[in-house]
């Protein structure tokens, strides 16, 4: 039977309002949830991206430290030249000439710029070539430079813009204002002892391994560095959309060199 206009009655206004109300509440909740999810997703993916970057960074640094000093001079009875072996697991400045290790500086005292809290040059083999790998923090970017060992000073050789590759970004270990102020406003306990060193050194001494800054010469020479604690303090590229706060993460590890200077 055809619809009867008299019988096809619409919704009452009350029904519509209730339905609309329920719909709006559900939609509101849904979009609210969606927005929250998006914010969380955004901040979590930023955080996990930064984590991954920092993790790769720490892992690479530790690998380089572990195999530093290979091949050492004592693997040769007649090395072709000083570029064919690693004089020391870690190069230094001032005093390093790539051929002997008789003129060391003192770690944390006279070594400048390297090895230091934010600067390290590893001397090791890369695919059959003795190379210098330098990690250097400039502002908030940790650079990695790799160059074949040569007669050029390692600091100069690894400082050329062409070889310096940004390795980990948003590194906060030695952050300056205004970010420093923002971070401390969020967490007053941070940086209470000043900048956080990326590299902390342990030196071999007759009474066992000791932090290099508590060791007197000659045991605080770069050739005596046995372990390096690496700490990376990394910020996500943007602030947390949800809370507006800076997200920081800290990753650390310890590298141990097995090859000795000689």
């Amino acid at each position: 039977m055809a619809s009867n206009p008299r019988t096809a009655r619409g919704f009452t206004i009350l029904e519509l309002m209730i339905a609309m109300g329920i719909f709006l509440v559900i939609c509101g909740a849904m979009f609210g949830l969606l927005e929250l999810s998006q914010k969380r997703y955004s901040s979590e993916s930023q955080l996990s991206g930064s984590f991954q970057e920092a993790r790769l960074g720490v892992d690479q640094i530790l690998r380089d430290v572990n195999v530093s000093g290979y091949p050492s001079k004592n693997l040769f009875s007649n090395p072709l030249n000083s570029n064919s072996y690693a004089v020391s697991p870690f190069a230094w400045e001032p005093g390093y000439n790539g051929a002997n290790s008789n003129n060391p500086c003192q770690v944390t005292l006279t070594c400048n710029p390297t090895p230091a809290k934010f600067d390290l040059i590893v001397e090791t083999d890369i695919n059959g070539t003795v190379s210098w790998i330098r990690y250097q923090l400039k502002n908030t970017t940790l650079y990695r430079s790799v160059v074949a060992k040569s007669s050029i000073n390692p600091v100069s050789a690894t400082s050329a813009a062409a070889v310096m590759t940004p390795f980990v970004e948003n590194v906060m270990n030695n952050v300056g204002e205004p970010l420093l102020g923002d971070i401390r406003a969020q967490n007053p306990a941070m940086f209470s002892n000043g900048p956080v060193p990326i590299f902390q050194y342990t030196c071999d001494t007759p009474s066992g391994p000791q932090p290099c800054d508590r060791v007197a010469a000659p045991y605080n020479a770069p050739q005596n560095i046995s372990d390096i604690d690496v700490t990376l303090l990394v910020k996500t590229p943007d602030v947390d959309i949800e809370t507006g706060t800076i997200q920081l993460l800290e990753l650390s590890g310890r590298g141990h060199r097995s090859n000795r200077a000689n």
């Binding site: 849904m30 949830l33 996990s48 091949p71 001079k73 004592n74 693997l75 009875s77 007649n78 090859n259």
Partner: protein, 555 residues
């Protein structure tokens, strides 16, 4: 007529009846599509967001997992390297090499790694390959199965040597890592073999050729007839004419493959060599004793050294080797600075108590008239010195002592007494000699104990002849040996005294005034050189890591 029965009322009633049709009515079903769509849409949206979050979390956790397994594979590989390095020592209860005769422990798998000589040192041939395998429960690990289906195939060997491991004399033994209730480290095998230039990819002798068939040796005393421009101890190719080292030992390559769950592979490699305490040089001067590990029963290593003797008939410093079956003789007292000779000779009385080189070869002890000649003048600079150049400079001697400290069985902080010593090492015996370091002063007054093995004292050693020591005694650091007590004991083996540090503990620029003073009326029997005990005590103390590297894997 009652209410609701009239026509108007009936119509309203009918209308009401039609409006309030049930939800499952056909009309309602037509209108419900929108709500369903909205609901599905909402569900879809939430699902998408949820799935994205799950995927993101999953990716992140697998990235973290990969990082963790790769790192754990690295440490597992290190565990494998260290197991092999430890089991190369004859003192290890699970050693893989020949033991020193008469000593404990009795290794269940001795002679697995070919050795020769006393003490047993590596003597692996080019084609000898040994594996320690460490399979997980229910798993088979066969590195010599080079099938592509074998995840643990050792293809690296062929890369290094140029021939497949299957063409070598390869053998396997089981790891000792299994401890009930503790998961094994996840390394799969550790390979022990000789090293060659080609295997290392290093032109060791600088001749422009990577020699693939000559096993490399480690030369601890770099004064050899072959050209060795690198003056520090190190690897060499023992191939040049006239090479006849008595000090070089085979260098071994140890390679470990670790495979973590979910595929983290790491291949790590050590080059190791036995660490031994010896001052022996490659080629002693013509006519002087060969191949003794110490030049004398008592070596005073330094400048301006002081020797004070009790001058009694019972106290002897005897360079005649007391090891049964040996006719070797070393000097009675050796010193390294010519200027000290006169004072030492004046103190070395009565002369018959200072027997040793040079006697009539293999004959009876030398007559007393030869007494002054029995005191060595070892003040010869490398390459002809009786003492390695590394034992003549404070820095290098200190580094040598540091190697002993690093591989000692026990390091006791000073000041210590005989009681401390015996409390810390009750297990020390003639068949279980130990390496003991006292980091500081050691005072043995009032003790009546025996010690066996290697004793290094970095401070002053105050000796009581009620106590005895069989083996090697090094007083290196402050370099002061004093004995004022009475007793009947003494030293069987060798004693060396050297001053490398000033009283504040700073390294000296050149070796200082070491002193040996024994002034009692009953000072014991003195020092008898004994090459058996020197061999027992000199090591190998450990297998020194010459190099470590991570071998890049092809995949």
């Amino acid at each position: 007529m009652g209410v609701g029965t009239g026509p108007i009322e009936r119509t309203r009633f009918e209308s009401q009846m039609k409006t309030k049709q049930p939800l499952w009515g056909p009309r309602r079903r037509k209108q419900s599509g929108t709500a369903m769509l909205i609901a599905i849409f909402a569900l879809l949206l939430i699902s998408v967001v949820g799935i994205a979050l799950v995927i993101s979390a999953g990716t992140n956790s697998s990235l973290a997992g990969n990082y963790r397994t790769a790192t754990s594979a690295y440490y597992a590989g290190m565990a494998g390297l260290e197991e092999a390095r430890g089991r190369l020592l004859w003192k290890n209860p699970n050693c893989l090499v020949a033991q020193l005769p008469g000593m404990t422990p009795n290794c269940p798998n001795a002679n697995f790694v070919p050795t020769a000589g006393v003490p047993p040192l590596p003597a692996m041939g080019l084609m000898e390959v040994r594996y320690i395998v460490n399979p997980a429960p229910g798993e088979t690990v066969n590195p010599a199965n080079l099938s592509p289906a074998n995840p643990y195939a050792d293809n690296e060997y062929e890369t290094e040597f140029g021939w497949a491991v299957t063409s070598t004399n390869w053998q396997t033994t089981a790891s000792i890592q299994s401890v009930a209730g503790v998961p094994n480290p996840s390394y799969k095998w550790v390979r022990i073999n000789v090293a060659t230039e080609k295997a290392l990819g290093l032109d060791v002798n600088g001749d422009g050729v990577l020699d693939g068939v000559t096993p490399l040796v480690f030369e601890p005393a770099p004064t050899i007839p072959c050209p060795r421009p690198n003056p520090s101890p190190g690897l060499m190719v023992p191939s040049c004419a006239g090479w006849s080292s008595q000090t070089a030992v085979e260098a071994l390559e140890i390679t470990a493959l670790a495979v973590a769950p979910y595929g983290g592979h790491r291949l790590l490699q050590y080059i190791v060599t036995p660490l031994m305490v010896s001052t022996s040089t490659q080629r002693p001067p013509a006519g002087q004793p060969m191949s003794a590990d110490f030049p004398a029963a008592l070596t005073l290593d330094g400048n301006g050294v002081a020797y004070t003797s009790p001058g009694t008939s019972g106290f002897m410093i005897n360079g005649q080797d007391q090891c049964v079956g040996s006719n070797n003789q070393v000097y009675s007292v050796a010193y390294t600075d010519n200027l000290d000779g006169a004072n030492i000779i004046r103190e070395a009385t009565p002369a018959q108590n200072y027997q040793g080189y040079p006697p009539g070869a293999g004959g009876p002890p030398p007559p007393p008239s030869k007494a002054p000649a029995t005191i060595a003048n070892a003040n010869l600079t490398p390459p002809t010195s009786l003492i390695r150049s590394s034992w003549l400079e404070p820095a290098t001697l200190d580094a040598t002592m540091q190697e002993i400290v690093n591989s000692a069985d026990v390091v006791i902080p000073g000041p210590a007494t005989g009681a401390t010593l015996m409390r810390r090492v009750p297990m020390m015996s003639a068949t279980n000699p130990m390496t003991i370091v006292v980091n500081g002063d050691l005072n043995l007054n009032g003790r009546n104990t025996f010690g066996y093995g290697l004793l290094l004292v970095t401070g002053n050693l105050t000796y009581d002849p009620d106590a005895s020591w069989d083996g090697i005694v090094l007083v290196v650091g402050q370099g002061v040996f004093t004995s004022t007590q009475t007793g009947a004991g003494g030293f069987t083996g060798a004693v060396l005294v050297a001053k490398t540090r000033d009283s504040a503990g700073n390294l000296l620029a050149s070796l200082g005034q070491a002193s040996f003073s024994s002034t009692s009326n009953h000072p014991g029997f003195g020092i008898n050189y004994n090459s058996c005990w020197v061999n027992t005590a000199k090591g190998p103390l450990s297998y020194k890591v010459l190099s470590f590297r991570e071998v890049p894997l092809p995949n």
